[in-house]
Amino acid sequence: MIPISYYLILSAVLFGLGVVGFVFKRNIITIFMAIELMLNAVNLAFVAFSREFNQLDGLIFVFFVIVVAAAEAAVGLAIVMVIARNRKSLNVEDVNLMKF
């Protein structure tokens, strides 16, 4: 018997780790992975809730989230490639032409 809240806490932890990862990582690609991690955390929460309510809606949401994640991934990686191509660097901190 596993209380739902365990799942929730797990998802919270994962989400938090995603957030931390976002600020911690420098490599654009891995930063993007951190975002994916956050999305996964969200999915976990959805599934857990749908399980709790015996609803399918949660699962549907997960489905959509995955699709959106895929779309984002496609576009995001394209952007990353453009950047890498023009800058020869994947360090996010080098990307600072515009400031103030």
Binding site: V19, F22, E93, V95, N96, M98, K99, F100
Partner: protein
Amino acid sequence: MFILNHLWIILALPLAGSMLTLLAGRHWPQKYVNLSSVGFVVLAFLSYCELAREFFSLTAAHIPLPPADYFTWMTAGNFRVDFALQVDQLTIVMLGVVTFVGMLIHIYSVGYMAHEEGYYRFFAEMNLFMFFMLTLVMASNLVLLFVGWEGVGLCSYLLISFFFQKKSAADAGKKAFITTRIGDFGFTIGILMAFWTFGSIDYKTMFAAAANMPVEGMHQWGVLTSICLLLLAGAVGKSAQLPLYVWLPDAMEGPTPVSALIHAATMVTAGVYMVARMNVLFSHAPAAMLAVAIIGGATALYAATIGLAQNDIKKVLAYSTISQLGYMFLACGVGAYAAGIFHLMTHAFFKALLFLAAGSVIHAMGGQQDMQYMGGLRKKIPWTFGTMLVATLAISGAPLFAGFFSKDEILFDAYAGANANPILYGVGLFAALLTACYMFRLIFLTFYGKPRYDEHHVHVHESPKVMLVPLVILAILSVIGGWFVLPTYWGGKDYFKGFLDPVFSGSTELAAKLHPSWTEPPHSLELTMAAIAVGVAFVGFLIAWYLYIRKPALPKKLANASGPVYTLLLNKYYVDELYGAVIIRPLIWISRNVLWKVIDVGLIDGTVNGVAFLSRESGNGLRRMQSGNTRSYAAWVIVGAVAVTVFFVWMVR
């Protein structure tokens, strides 16, 4: 009754003259200018004569005449000023002096100013002056009087700085206007207070109200006292009394006719006129009366002392004017309004004469004003000398001359009048001595002794007829001008006083009521007083004679001997310098270096610019937030997220 019903004509004439001359005169030949300006003044005088005739023909029942109300000049709320003129005995006298002397001086100026540029300007301004002076005299309420009051001030400003390219002239004009303005400040407040007290500034209403008010004792400072003192401030400024007299000597920068008309005969006497006009108020405020008397006496003495040491012929006359005005104030101060006005009239004659004669001298000397470079002119300009001598006798109070009667009357009232004051009498007497002294000093220095000027360069010549005629006429008047009162010496009635009585009766009766102990002095006293006065004047004459005819070298020695005293007198007690050091320069310094530089630019504007600067700086600070680094941005987002969630979860609930 034509003029009586159309008083405005007397005003309109000089005004028309001035406007005409001012607008058209620029390109006119001089004779047109004379026609338009002098002509109108002559007309004004004639219409005055007609007015006087009509006035005398009136039966006592019709006097006082109601003021002729032409239009409402100001009205707002319960405040209302009408442009209303009035005629009564006092006005008649003043009008006479103004129009007549004015006319003579205009005529004189035709000759005197002939060679000056801005001829038309001069006459236009003179006419304008006449207009305002007449307004002042005929006004039937305080504000209208103030109109004339300021107007003549303006004209005096314009005429003093007539030679505006001379710095001294420009300064003198400004000084005159501003100094009188300081007095007018008091005057204005006085008017405000009067309106506040009486609810109106019409003479009729004011005097009626004041007459029913209790007399304020010497030590209880009431509203009337305040009003009177405030008005007095104005008078002090206008009539060059202590401590605001400083502008008058400088005013001699103006052309001599101006000095004669404005700064001797008419404008400067406005203060006296005003006090006399307000006699009802003053007699209800003994404290103010005393103030008037003291100021008058002090000024009379003070100015006379300075007069002793001056070398500029016009300056001497200027100080003597101040001193004589002091006499008039003294008179008013002791309640002898009639005497004051009487002296005002005679003084107008002989002082105008003195100035004109002096002008003729200067004219003859080609602009030289310093008596140290004159002397022995007696033969060369006999007419001038003769008339000037007459005037001098008159002013020093030689028996049977105009000045004798008026001055004698003042001294008499000071000694034996209702509110007599021996000290003031003494002062007056001493001043009389000094007067005789410095006047004869002037005569001796100018006309006697050896010429002290370079006779090859200066070609002394008698002035043209147009200048001499007025001199002669005035000379005659300086002799006979005082004979109204002759009968008093054999116990007859005083016609002048009698004529003015309706105006002053209220005050005189009141004075009598206030001093029940006082009784009409015996006739014998009158004669003795006169004798004393003459004696004193004669002593003055003797001193002058001894110093300047008998022992011409003595004055120098005396001067050196008396050292500081003499320099003090020569430099007019350094009063100008004092004012400069104590008031004017500090004020300017503070205004420039504190108010403007520090407060305005530094403090206020500094704050404004400071605020601008600060906001720009905070802008610079805030834009640092946009470091351009994505990780920092992420950090900001997290900050926001944490803030929001923490706020929601722990603050709100």
